[in-house]
């Protein structure tokens, strides 16, 4: 029943203007294999897959399916050839039902083009039962949790008889438990004869599930690796030099608690309590990491502290002073440094120079300004020092900030925020989309700020980062605080907390979590159940 398919990419090159995104890439995906493409953000993995899926046309090179060269003019052709793709940002229409989304593009119809969604529902049920997906065909996609939406995407590919499934950074939006479930699904698919191209930069997952690893750096294949290789080995291949994955940090020496949040509630425009009765505090010289899956109130929490949210109740005290109800400017002047989660939208003005971006919060204060005049010389002077201090790789501070790489942009934001005396430092997703080399540097700076005696709050959806930096960990779920646990709490416990289960209820559930984690191919009933 199963037609296996061998996929070969030969010399694929893709240029965007002068940017060389893929440089003569050769990859062979053997039938029934999980083939991992490992590389940093921006290494060209997704571009390569978009070429394979017919979304981009390659500038050079060819794609071979079962040894025969093919050319895809669009995703339709790729699907025809048995290639399916689950995109990093889901390609689902939120206001459609699961069945409508699955049917779209390959709709079973009755006479005169009338939809026959019953046929689609039957197919969804079939696949859902086979892999234990538990997906309701008539549910609206926007009402589904992210993990289920991902399964809908997989069903979409399977309904189209995909023999090769491309998963583009599939774990970015999942909790650790959901990730484990996904890895199990991948193994099941493999045993069912579907090959998988797994794109990731998370070493733990890659090692857990891959048969072959191809490492891509700056658009080139730099080699293949064995899944048994150590994480340090894989990381240095990915980055191109030796990196230390563990941060050397002295134990925290917390002093008095100067930052306090009491019963904080933020109400979204739609009436939902996106932050719901939050209370916590941070001591000087301590890092509190806020963990949680994306979209559980983290953004609103930071925005509330900064004064960017409108309907906020509760109290936010810094050095005994109420921050709530103050303007953003007053909050900043109270000594709050803030690194926003999306640097390109909220952190930088891409068309302004690096030097200008470095003084966005102090442009009107001495030494940069005097009365109504500004001193460009001092601004540039300041830029020179900061660029050196934060190791921003750029020929000049006069260049537009938008021309920098993600890591260097983040260093600019961090440099601006850390370049004045702070009473509180908040960094949201401090290393998202940043190369491994820069992560090391940024983490060190954050710890240095802590050691100067500043209370530090880190918001991160990357569990690795949380565990690395935190002195204490607060976990958010649906706007509520699930609990605050000490650093060194196990990944399993944190994972369950991220799914909304407080630590005191873990006694027996952790056992189940561990079991699912270690089983190679677990049955579908072992993995469900204990999650929300």
């Amino acid at each position: 029943m199963v037609r296996v398919l061998k996929l070969e990419l030969r010399g694929i090159t893709k240029r965007f203007g002068t940017l060389l995104a893929n440089d003569h890439i050769d990859v062979v995906v053997e039938p029934g294999q999980i083939h991992c493409l490992l590389g940093e953000n921006g290494a060209g993995k997704s571009t390569l897959m978009n070429v394979l899926y017919g979304l981009y046309e390659p500038s050079e090179g060819e794609i071979l399916v079962d040894g025969k060269p093919v050319s895809f003019r669009g995703p339709g052709d790729a699907m025809e050839a048995g290639i399916g793709m689950v995109h990093q940002h889901f390609m689902l229409v939120p206001v459609f039902t699961v069945a409508e989304n699955v049917a779209l593009g390959a709709e079973p119809t009755k006479a005169a083009g009338f939809l026959n969604l019953d046929e689609t529902r039957r197919r969804i049920k079939e696949i859902s039962d086979q892999y234990g997906f538990d997906v309701e065909p008539d549910a609206l996609v926007e009402d589904l949790p992210v993990g289920v939406q991902q399964r809908v995407e997989i069903i979409k590919a399977l309904v189209r008889n995909a023999k090769v499934l491309i998963l583009d950074e599939p774990t970015a939006v999942l909790t650790p438990q959901e990730t484990d479930e996904l890895l199990d699904i991948m193994r099941q698919l493999k045993s069912g004869g579907t090959s998988i191209v797994f794109i990731s930069h998370k070493l733990r997952e890659v090692k857990a599930v891959s048969d072959t690893i191809t490492v891509i750096r700056r658009g080139k294949v730099v080699g293949t690796a064995d899944p048994a290789a150590s994480t340090t080995e894989l990381a240095s291949m990915m980055v191109g030099r030796a990196v230390s994955l563990t941060l050397d940090k002295a134990p925290a020496q917390p002093k008095e608690k100067t930052f306090e949040v009491r019963d904080l509630t933020v109400i979204a425009p739609n009436g939902q309590h996106v932050v719901d009765g939050l209370s916590f505090d941070i001591a000087r010289g301590e890092i509190l990491a806020v963990a949680g899956v994306q979209g559980n109130g983290q953004t609103e929490l930071t925005e509330a502290i900064l004064g960017l949210q409108e309907r906020v109740h509760g109290s936010i005290l810094l050095d005994g002073q109420e921050l709530l109800g103050r303007t953003v400017k007053e909050v900043l002047n109270a000594g709050v440094g803030f690194v926003p989660e999306d640097r390109s939208v909220d952190g930088l003005i891409g068309t302004f120079s690096i030097a200008e971006n470095l003084i966005l919060d102090r442009y009107d204060q001495p030494p940069f300004a005097k009365g109504i005049s500004m001193s460009p010389a001092r601004v540039l002077e300041n830029a020179k020092t900061r660029i050196e201090e934060f190791d921003v790789r750029t020929p000049s501070g006069a260049l537009a900030a938008g021309t920098l790489s993600g890591g260097n942009q983040q260093k600019v934001v961090m440099a601006r925020e850390l370049s004045r005396p702070l009473r509180l430092f908040i960094a949201s997703q401090p290393t998202r989309g940043v190369d491994v080399g820069s992560i090391e540097f940024l983490h060190k700076r954050i710890v240095a700020e802590r050691d100067q005696g500043t209370p530090v709050m880190i918001i991160s959806t990357e569990l690795d980062e949380v565990m690395e930096l935190a002195d204490r960990i607060a976990v958010l779920y649906k706007g509520k605080l699930v609990g605050v646990v000490p650093a060194g709490t196990s990944r399993d416990v944190l994972g369950l907390m991220m799914a909304g289960i407080p630590p005191e209820e873990h006694v027996h559930t952790t056992q189940a979590g561990k079991a699912a984690d270690t089983t190679t191919i677990s049955t579908s009933d072992a993995e469900g159940g204990d999650h929300v």
Partner: protein
């Protein structure tokens, strides 16, 4: 250039989006605001003061049968003071219930809003007729006339539905109506055949739409601006041709043979319903068919599923092998043809010649009907009917002579438009990708 590079590197995550999506996913309750209850209360009070307490003590009479009906129903007689008082107390009751619901954090249900509108309109009618010199109107005639006036509006808003559902904002409905009206007049005059004129009107509307489609889809020009420019262009061109060609030789170029009213035997004699459904011109019948066809098409067929997908999430449609821009182009063109047919109503049915600006801003009212009808063909139909009703009411009321100055009555359709869209629609959600050009990658 820099945008091309950054947007074509999907390796970079776009933080925020996924998070917001996830947050949105957990929201199911609709926002509950004070706006609707307060709005209803204010209007209930207006009704109480003007239509109730200040109403003249005169009897208003509403005829509900026309001469050609099977059987004659007696006219409804209402004392304006008593009727106004009773209705405004009912309105106050509804408003109070809405406020009560709000205090318990429940949204105002749709039936309540509809009931409120119906009662308010009834109170207004009783007041206005009761105060007139001849306090008697034909209700059946009023409703039938409303449908007639609504015909171009319905076609216009269907055009809007077809365009916005696929992700293109069509501000050019006015231009499409006007182009249709002009072309129908001139072609029907030359060929002396109204059916050819009707066809030509559809083509003219489609041509206007194709310009919109070309510039907004292929050249990514701001859709609102193209739409506005097209309206001005069509108005200028038809105005120019009217004064140079049509007026110079009216007999040859501006005396189109009209489309006759086709009466369905027997059925057209049913009181009230008969004239509305079975005593229409070809364009009127086409309107009913078009509303149904567009609705069924959008929600029951493969074509509709793809159209809606393109309007909601074009990238998703693209990854499933649907040609986004081609789908958009042909839908916008189809929308233009529909609006063009609506335009022919002006010159082939309503009036037997073209005049400058004959569409008189109805394209914009159609746009409002589209939003009030929540991008749904049937909703848009009823919204257009409401505006047609307001339009017809003001002319009838002016004829029977009311205490209200006619200039104020002439404002009625537009007043209704503003109130409906601003006060009652609330935060309605249109197609997510409407107005956003689709660029691959």
């Amino acid at each position: 250039m820099s945008t091309t590079v950054s947007s074509s590197r999907p390796g970079n995550p776009q933080p925020g989006n996924a998070g917001k999506d996830a947050a949105a996913a957990t929201v199911s309750a609709k926002p509950v605001g004070w706006k609707t209850p307060v709005f209803l209360a204010a209007f209930a009070l207006i009704a109480l003061v003007f239509f109730g307490l200040l109403a003249p003590n005169q009897t208003a009479s509403f005829g509900i049968s026309t001469g050609s009906d099977f059987f004659q129903l007696p006219a409804i007689q209402v004392n304006a003071f008593a009727g106004g008082l009773v209705l405004s107390i009912l309105l106050l009751g509804l408003a109070a219930y809405a406020i009560y619901l709000k205090t318990r954090d429940n949204p105002v249900p749709g039936w309540l809003t509809v009931a409120f509108i119906v009662l308010f309109v009834a109170a207004f009618l009783i007041w206005v007729v009761g105060g007139a010199r001849t306090p008697s109107i034909s209700l059946a005639g009023l409703i039938a006339g409303s449908v007639t006036l609504a015909v171009p509006l319905v076609f216009g808003s269907l055009s809007g539905v077809l365009c916005e559902r696929v992700g293109v904002v069509n501000i050019a409905i006015e231009g499409q109506l006007l182009g249709g009206a002009f072309t129908a007049a001139i072609v029907a005059s030359i060929t002396q055949n109204p059916f050819v004129g009707l066809l030509a009107a559809a083509v003219a509307g489609a041509v206007v739409s194709m310009v919109l489609a070309l510039f907004s889809i292929k050249y990514l020009v701001n859709q609102i601006i193209v739409g506005v420019v097209l309206n001005v262009l069509v108005s200028g061109v038809t105005g120019f041709l009217f004064s140079t060609v049509m007026q110079a030789n009216k007999a040859q170029f501006n005396s189109p043979p009209g489309l006759d009213i086709i009466e369905v035997p027997v059925l057209s004699s049913i009181p009230v319903i008969g004239p509305i459904l079975f005593r229409q011109s070809l364009v009127g019948y086409l309107m009913y068919i078009a509303v149904l066809v567009v609705w069924v098409g959008l929600f029951k067929t493969r074509w509709g599923l793809r159209v809606r997908a393109v309007g909601e999430h074009p990238q998703a449609a693209d990854t499933l092998g649907i040609n986004v821009n081609a789908t958009r182009f042909w839908n916008v063109t189809l929308g233009g043809a529909v609006a063009g047919i609506g335009g022919s109503f002006f010159t082939l049915v309503a009036i037997d010649s073209f005049t400058k600006e004959i569409s008189g801003g109805r394209g914009f009212i159609a746009l409002a009907a589209l939003i009030f009808g929540r991008w749904n063909p049937i909703g848009a139909f009823f919204a257009a009917l409401l505006f047609g009703f307001a339009d017809n009411l003001q002319s009838i009321v002016t004829i029977i002579g009311t205490p209200v100055p006619s200039q104020f009555m002439a404002m009625l359709p537009y007043l209704v438009t503003v109130l409906a869209v601003a006060g009652l629609v609330g935060k309605s959600r249109g197609p997510a990708a409407s107005g956003i050009p689709y660029v691959k990658g």
